[in-house]
Chain length 148, copies 2
């Protein structure tokens, strides 16, 4: 039913996501980055250099499309290819200095916004919410697997 709190929580995910994406996009205006490039740079900054197929796995997107995203990012000068000791035909994608600085700035700015919003909420309530949502994700996976 629509008056179940859990039902409400589940369908809050859509507006939540829309606002998150809107915020990210808004903060990107003027930086020269697109949302797609930001996604690539974020992974590289967080997890370090990696080849395209590995990026695709982390982003859970088809490697063919990630390739396009990466090519754009390289063309914009925020990333570059380097020899991959583990696979000669699949170069590592690495941040350039410009890319490094830019993504650090962007992520820091986002972190400031999140920190500001965190202050308006009780820390342990946030923890509870995270725990509920994480459990919920597992429960939904179970329901989905019930009839494949």
């Amino acid at each position: 039913m629509s008056n179940s709190p859990l039902y409400h929580l589940i369908w809050s995910s859509r507006p939540l996501m829309q606002r998150a994406e809107a915020l990210v996009e808004q903060r990107l205006t003027g930086t020269g980055l697109t949302v797609r490039m930001r996604a690539v740079l974020e992974i590289l900054a967080r997890d370090g250099d990696c080849p395209v197929p590995e990026l695709a796995r982390r982003l859970e997107i088809q490697r063919q499309y990630v390739q396009v995203m990466v090519n754009e990012t390289i063309a914009a000068g925020y990333a570059e290819k380097r020899d991959n000791p583990r696979h000669k035909a699949s170069p590592l994608i690495c941040l350039t200095d410009r890319g490094q600085k830019l993504i650090a700035d962007v992520l820091a700015g986002e972190a400031r916004v999140v920190a500001r919003m965190s202050e308006a909420l009780a820390a342990d309530d946030i923890e509870t919410a995270v725990a509920v949502v994480d459990r919920l994700l597992g429960l939904m996976d179970d329901e989905i697997e019930k009839r494949p």
Copy 2:
């Protein structure tokens, strides 16, 4: 930062939504309904008959596209047009008996799944999570409005 609980919560919204949509879609197989039709029928069942532009406002989608969704739903026999006393050129979209029964079944089935998952979680933790997310939506709106 990526280790902030609130950051984690915000980006849980995407997988949450994906799973919610996957579940809805899965439960629709064999009913003759598409996800789009379900969306239309859900509003009609919840809020009562209304004309297309009003549906569009509630769904927050362009009316031109909602019109397509509604036409499909009518063609499938789950809804029909009736005279609108408030606006002669814009008929009310109403559930047919078939549509009424079907959407009630679908929503009841979904409610059963949600109820099952609710049992695995503490009721007051769910309430806390809902409260956090609702507050968060407001906070994000504020952040977005800061520079339009």
